[in-house]
């Protein structure tokens, strides 16, 4: 990055998360995506005269859960407030939010990345309602869809503790994982259930804080990183040229890779916040908060640590397995059924994740079960299939599911551990490759690898490699086909 040593980048993020409640924040309309426009509405979320809001208890519980997961202080009493402004997607002419007394404040997130420990303070967490959506018509004019209006949102504001675009991305990643574990949202940035705005400024070494610029319209983790890198470089360029940074809001243009100023006539907004008179102060007694705390699931940091301790996994494995709660659950489900946790982790992080990525699925969306994966590993251990033939079996299980034993037979993947059957192939290969056989006899160990490969090729990968190895050594040592009485015993069992 061209910002160099001259300036320190100072970033704070404002994240909005859609809560996965069944109903809206202040009425009982269902929360759902993709319904026909204006079918999930009622007098309350349409702002009809005389309608009144009532707080969704589940939304409050989710907000408390998030606050606790972010190590925040939960306010015994918080206040709802009205944020007043005119816009067609805001039917009441104000948004119910929290202003002076948020539900949670003073928290922090800690995480390790790139060998460094990071700590980002959480200024506040509060509950508010989403707006509707404007649908601009190609021929001019706009339509409003109020289905989203009143969906509960959590606003999570970080301290300006973030020092680079990459750290911003890591913070967001960690926040997303944390929220996934609390189960309060599906936090999909691409679907808008997680949205992020940033405040970014540059500070000359030892100098006063720089002028804040707000960056909006970043729709993926990648675009957060790109937008902030771009914006830091832009500000550095201006400052180095002796110019002034303007306090403004800028939009990220993903296709052009730039931020642009989005000042409009509404810029000088005065939201005239005041306490929402339709809702009494939100009082949470300590017993309630403690009950929510006690019901919190294990959070990512704790699980990462436990996976290392309990299963002896390296930090990398523990980190990947903690990306979603389901992945870790899956791992633990397998590890209970299979004696070697590291082998489970290797297969899960290797082939299973690869196949999931190829099919664009999460582990919970696949028919593969922990029992099936551990059975596959058991089949490998038993020599019934080889590590190589396990791959097509896993492909099938991840995509379509099924019984591993039956599938292995059906797909013709069973390992050949029958000595008599393999002896013939070994003889063929030795006959077909006299030079290589001679090399081995002359002491070239590597030549054997080639010969094993040839046997595997002729058996479509199904031959038991250990057995092939032994048979080849016996054959090349001058033994007769079928020789070595005890050989069959060791055959498939290792």
């Amino acid at each position: 990055m061209s910002v160099g040593e001259q300036y320190q980048v100072v970033i704070g993020l404002e994240v909005h998360v859609e809560l996965a409640t069944r109903t809206k924040a202040f009425c009982s309309c269902p929360v759902a995506f993709g319904a026909p426009p204006n079918t999930l509405v009622c007098p309350v979320c349409l702002g009809l005269p005389g309608a009144l809001p009532v707080v969704n208890e589940r939304a409050v519980e989710y907000a408390v859960r998030a606050g606790l997961a972010l190590n925040c202080h939960i306010a015994a009493t918080s206040l709802f407030a009205r944020k007043n402004y005119f816009y067609p997607d805001l039917p009441k002419g104000y948004q119910i939010t929290q202003y002076e007394s948020p539900l949670a404040s003073g928290g922090q997130i800690e995480f390790a990345a790139g060998g460094e420990q990071h700590r980002v303070g959480i200024t506040r967490v509060h509950l508010e309602e989403d707006t509707g959506k404007l649908v601009h018509q190609p021929g001019g004019g706009s339509l409003v869809d109020f289905n989203r209006c009143g969906v509960p949102l959590l606003e999570i504001v970080s301290e300006p503790d973030i020092r680079s675009a990459e750290e911003a991305r890591l913070y967001l990643q960690e926040l997303r994982t944390l929220l996934l574990f609390t189960g309060i949202s599906d936090v999909r940035m691409e679907e808008g259930s997680l949205r992020c705005d940033a405040n970014i400024s540059l500070r000359a070494a030892g100098g006063p804080p720089g002028t804040l610029v707000e960056v909006k319209n970043m729709n993926s983790f990648r675009s957060v990183k790109l937008a902030l890198e771009h914006e830091a470089a832009r500000q550095a360029r201006l400052l180095s040229a002796g110019e002034r940074i303007v306090r403004e809001t800028r939009h990220w243009d993903e296709t052009r890779g730039i931020t642009f100023s989005s000042r409009s006539k509404e810029e000088a907004h005065d939201y005239r916040y005041f306490p929402e008179p339709d809702l009494p102060p939100l009082a949470l007694d300590p017993g309630y908060v403690e009950r929510v705390r006690a019901a919190l699931p294990e959070l990512p940091a704790a699980r990462r640590e436990r996976l290392q301790r309990q299963y002896g996994l390296p930090p990398y494995d523990a980190g990947v397995l903690t990306a979603t709660p389901q992945l870790g659950d899956f791992f633990e489900g397998c590890a209970r059924l299979h004696p070697d946790a590291k082998t489970v982790s290797n297969w899960l992080l290797g082939d299973v994740l690869r196949i999931l990525n190829e099919t664009r699925r999460e582990i919970q969306d696949s028919p593969l079960t922990p029992a099936a994966l551990s059975r596959v590993l058991g089949l490998i251990d038993a020599g019934t299939i080889s590590g190589r033939t396990a791959k097509p079996l896993l492909e099938e299980l991840v995509r379509a599911g099924g019984d591993p034993d039956q599938l292995a037979v059906k797909l013709g993947l069973l390992q050949i551990s029958d000595e008599a059957a393999l002896q013939a192939t070994v003889d063929e290969v030795v006959r077909a490759c006299p030079e290589v056989a001679a090399d081995f006899r002359a002491g070239k160990e590597k030549a054997l690898t080639f010969l094993v490969g040839q046997v595997m090729k002729r058996t479509a990968g199904r031959a038991n490699p250990q057995l092939v190895n032994r048979l080849l050594r016996e054959r090349l040592a001058g033994g007769t086909p079928g020789g070595g009485q005890g050989g069959g015993q060791g055959g498939g069992r290792s």
Binding site: P49, G50, P91, K92, G93, F274, P280
Partner: protein, 502 residues
Amino acid sequence: MDVLDLSARQLAAAIARRELRAVDAARAYLDAIAAADGEVRAYLRVTPDRALADATAVDAGIERGVAAPPLGGVPAAVKDNMCTLGVETNCGSRVLAGFVPPYESTATSRLWQAGAALLGKTNLDEFAMGSSTENSGFFKTRNPRDRGTVPGGSSGGSAAAVAAGEALLALGSDTGGSVRQPAALCGVVGMKPTYGRVSRWGLIAFASSLDVIGTLTRDVGDCALALGVIAGHDPRDATCAASPVPDFLAALEAGEAGAAGVRIGVPREYLGPGIEPAVRDAVTRAVGVLEAAGAGVDECSLPHTEHALAAYYIVAPAEASSNLARYDGVRFGHRAAAGGDLYDMYCWTRGEGFGPEVKRRIMLGTFALASGYYDAYYRKAQQVRALVARDFAAAFARFDVLAAPTSPTVAFPLGSRAGDPLAMYMSDALTIPANLAGIPAISVPCAADGLPVGLQLLGPAFSEALLLRVGHAYERAAGTTFSRARAAGRETPRGREGGTGR
């Protein structure tokens, strides 16, 4: 016996005993409206079909032997700021003209469940902002006791309808006195319950932290009956209290205690300069009647009273400026025909739709909430509000009930304060403190002759039963009875036909 002379209690009882059919009572009231409302203009909308249908349903139930509901067949009017399913509700504003709510307010739905019949929706100052009903976006209502004067406001239509015998009871709303002051000026009983006693679900908001639905009735007994029907918890209003609702009427009918032993405080700030002599005399005499009936009376002080009006005119407009933002022409009500962009649509819609008083308050409230002014105005006003509430708390440590005039003046001539908003605002100087403190208050007619005067009784939160008991004791001791305003021209509310004022 004239059906129109029966109280709500008597009428419901007669219908329950099958001495009278609800549908005939409804017809009698519709006829009374037809006869008088051309001049009084209490109603924005009369709903004869609905009234007859409601009444027919009550009659049918009684035919079938179903127990008669408490308001079975009582013809009622509703201030037009309460949503009525399928019946236009425009809040006296052109911005909401033609708005037909797809849902029913809680208070009115409880009326219908109790067997009341909807006669129609009554006139009001636009969005309940005013003290004379002259700010209606449609027409002015006249005081049936003296048709050259205002009925008070903002529930002027409801008060006038009850006073004129065009409705047997009516609902109003009271944000700064809008039930009590028109009740006083029209010579009927007006109750503003404790904030949270009656659900606000479906009440079109003016100032949410002050708005309370109340009743306008002929006497205190009917008030107890109606309040018992509409009061009580509602899960759709987060500010509605869970506190249980006593049987107000049964308590009145059973209790012979009357005013005996009740400690009554008379706040000196409520009888100071600016109170018309006729009002001061009538209220002083009324307090004397209660004292003679066994109440202990002493003077007291509510020292922050003089600041209440100013605090109210910050808090109420501030909330109103936000509550009225939804009238933007996007989803319902008026939308300006003028072209242009979104901003133009907002400006023209609101410019055309709102009347001058509403615009004045939206601007007042917008300024009061503006950043940089918030602490000096809104926050300060909330502090004053707390002090006003503290005054009451201190007074209620010594007294059970406070007695005062409801309005500083009797009904004033139509148009006499129209150009002077401050003079108009003073009309509510004695009613506003109860709204700021959230406490209940009732206005009971107390003039011996001349234009009506209201005796205001104020009590601690959820003391409605006590206020009804004292109000009822006053009615009995003073021998007042309700009489309908009938002839055109000036008329006294009581005493002439039905007994003496004292």
